[in-house]
């Protein structure tokens, strides 16, 4: 973990890793697991059950009416269906697929190069980019920003893709322009990758290579010189961000007619060394860790994502998902522990907050349940970068407070809406 420098008057500067190791392939798992979002009401007939044979790249959805689907990452037999809730309480059907050992590709995508095809088949592709927004967003999307950096520290997936798949990126960009009809495409990269993306012919913007500049709101601020209005998505102002990996996946899909099922990810070990791998979506974390020779001990943390923004998970048996950019393993000694100390008003959080929020007040309001007051403290401007909690002298659980307040505010808003 990166500590405060001894001469603490210097501003904390958490640099992104700019040296992607080359990708190594993890062989497809014996059993892959995918999580299908469970609809609120089940209508229509159930479309799959335990024992069904599936192909690689086959689409599974709960019912004929549902637009949610998952893609089978391996060919074989559905061996189990179980219910699963993630860290935020969303419910899923976990689907286990026992691999038959050989890939048998589904070819439904063949020959189709349209936005509809992308919506129908590529929403579960690596990067989990949602194509639906080109149809559903309230404002027409007129700008696409391709992100050549990864949001969190230590992850080098997109950089690695830019280096190794430049032709795929180029093709992907053309396809993306073609299916969406959006011509204003910008690519953002760290300075040292400027050369790699010249050939795309796009307008290239340089991002400062330190956290949290690769977060959507920061990219929009840096690149478009616009503030993302508080509480809004980039799509609300007609902008969407897509990762370099998703762009390469588009090329793979439409070029070969196969739905991509392989995810690139960084594995960050306890000592901070990174290896990059590619693995089938649905591969258990444990398989990937043993491929990289990472051992996990008692009281360690396994984090899906990076150390600043990732989600800690409780089991090595859980699979990687289409948006798992990294697995970070941390020892107990390196991991942050929160305390219930009161805020001492040191202001470290306020001075580091990239959204310029008065986090000290926000934290206190949320701590004492004054959720409506957190709105006055600009809670909706928060980009959830976690820097405030990273620097808090009193080690306050500021992110937990912020998430809690947002959640409670949503409930308050909902009940007000019902009352009216």
């Amino acid at each position: 973990m990166i500590k405060k420098s001894f001469w603490g008057f210097k501003k904390t500067d958490l640099k992104y890793d700019l040296d992607p190791p080359s990708f190594r392939d993890v062989s497809p798992p014996r059993e892959a697991t995918v999580f299908l979002k469970r609809p609120n009401k089940i209508t229509g007939e159930k479309l799959f059950q335990v024992g069904n044979q599936v192909k690689t790249g086959q689409k599974l959805s709960s019912s004929s009416d549902s637009s949610e689907y998952v893609i089978c990452p391996v060919a074989g037999k559905i061996s189990d269906i179980f219910s699963y809730s993630d860290a935020y309480g969303r419910h899923y059907d976990g689907i286990k697929i026992e691999s038959g050992g050989k890939d048998d590709w589904d070819d439904q995508l063949k020959g189709k190069v349209t936005l509809e095809a992308a919506i129908d088949f590529l929403e579960f592709a690596p990067g989990k980019f949602s194509f639906r927004k080109f149809k559903d967003a309230p404002n027409k999307i007129d700008t696409i920003i391709i992100n050549g950096l990864d949001a969190d520290l230590g992850i080098t997936v997109n950089q690695g893709i830019l280096k190794t798949k430049s032709s795929g990126i180029k093709k992907g960009i053309d396809l993306l322009k073609k299916i969406t009809g959006v011509n204003n495409v910008i690519i953002v990269v760290p300075e040292i990758l400027q050369g790699e993306v010249k050939s795309t012919g796009l307008s290239v913007k340089i991002l400062p290579a330190s956290f949290p500049n690769a977060l959507p709101a920061m990219i929009i601020k840096n690149v478009l010189d616009k503030d993302l209005p508080a509480g809004k998505n980039p799509e609300d102002i007609g902008v969407t961000l897509i990762s370099a990996e998703s762009v390469a996946a588009i090329a793979f899909a439409f070029d070969g007619g196969k739905i991509p099922v392989t995810k690139a990810l960084s594995v960050i070990q306890k000592d901070g060394t990174t290896s990059n791998v590619t693995a089938r979506i649905g591969t258990p974390i444990g398989d990937i860790l043993s491929f990289c020779n990472v051992s996990v001990g008692e009281n360690d943390r396994i984090i899906m994502g990076g150390s600043m923004m990732g989600t800690a998970t409780y089991s090595k048996d859980l699979p990687i998902e289409p948006d798992t950019d990294a697995i970070t393993v941390q020892s107990e000694a390196d991991s942050a522990i929160v305390s219930d100390y009161p805020c001492i008003n040191c202001g470290e959080c306020v001075r580091i907050c990239p959204a310029k929020i008065q986090v000290n007040l926000l934290g206190k309001y949320a701590e004492f349940g004054l959720y409506e007051d957190t709105e006055r403290c600009d809670i909706y401007s928060c980009i959830e970068c976690s820097l405030c909690a990273y620097v808090c002298t009193a080690k306050r659980p500021l992110m937990q407070y912020i998430k809690l307040a947002k959640y409670e505010l949503a409930i308050i808003k909902n009940s007000e809406a019902v009352d009216e």
Binding site: N299, V350, Y390
Partner: protein, 322 residues
Amino acid sequence: MNNSKKLIVSHAPHWHNGSSISAKNINIIFATFPALLIGLSYYGIPAVGVIALSIGCAMIAELLMNLAMKREISISDGSAALSGLLLGMLLPASAPWWLVVIGSFLVIVIGKQIFGGIGSNPLNPTLIGYAILMISWKGLLDYNEALLDYDLGFIMSYPLATLKHFGVSAITKYDMINLFMGKQSGGIGTTCGLGLLIGGFYLLLRGFIRWEISLSFLVGVYVSAFLFNISNPEGYASPLFHLLTGNIMLGAFFLATDDTTSPVNFIPMLIFGLGCGIMTVLIRNLGVYYDGVVFAILLMNITNPLLDKIYPKAIGKVVENA
């Protein structure tokens, strides 16, 4: 899943920069040493007694209040020790033991714990304790009276008292270098400008205190004293004399910079520091007290929540036009 190792799950961030309240307080205590040791070397055992007693009593008071209020024991965070130490540094070496005990309890109980403990006190606890003592036992805290028995080889009359009673012409006997080196009477740890400057710089560089407050405090003193001085050189002392005497150095680096009672945003910090400096000089030049640092900082502490209302617009904040 059951036989595997237990993992720790928590919300992001999974890193912390390693700072802590106790490390901060220990460093601030450490930074008082240069000035404190000079003071102790001048006044000897009685001064050691005052400092030890003030730290000890402050910690005991904190412990008793923790127990009485059924709260977590918080003496290990070092903030009680620091508040006690700073009180001790303000007191003259001759302060009787009961005064130190009462002062330390006032610091912790009235200054801090009745408001809810660390982080909740609106005013600097040390200064609350000191101000109550100053009002209640004026004579015991008058450095001229208190240090009557000492002869340390430099001018033993308190420079600010001399200034107040005998005017600018009387202070020509003080040599600026001597003042800066701590050769003046005053509180145990307040006299050695050099030592406090070294400690203050250490804290600034380590990022434990904010330069905005310290610098603007000193600038505030200098500029306002300068203006008084050029308007009437016979009536008001030079800015340098003001900077080097009384509690200004301690105030600028150790008292005004207290986290809980100072603002966190850039412009408010500057206003806060300037305000402390200007108020100090106003009290010194126009008020009845010799030194204004204590009341100036307490006064600015009151304005702190208001000052911090001046903050930059959050990113993407939608300004509602009615």
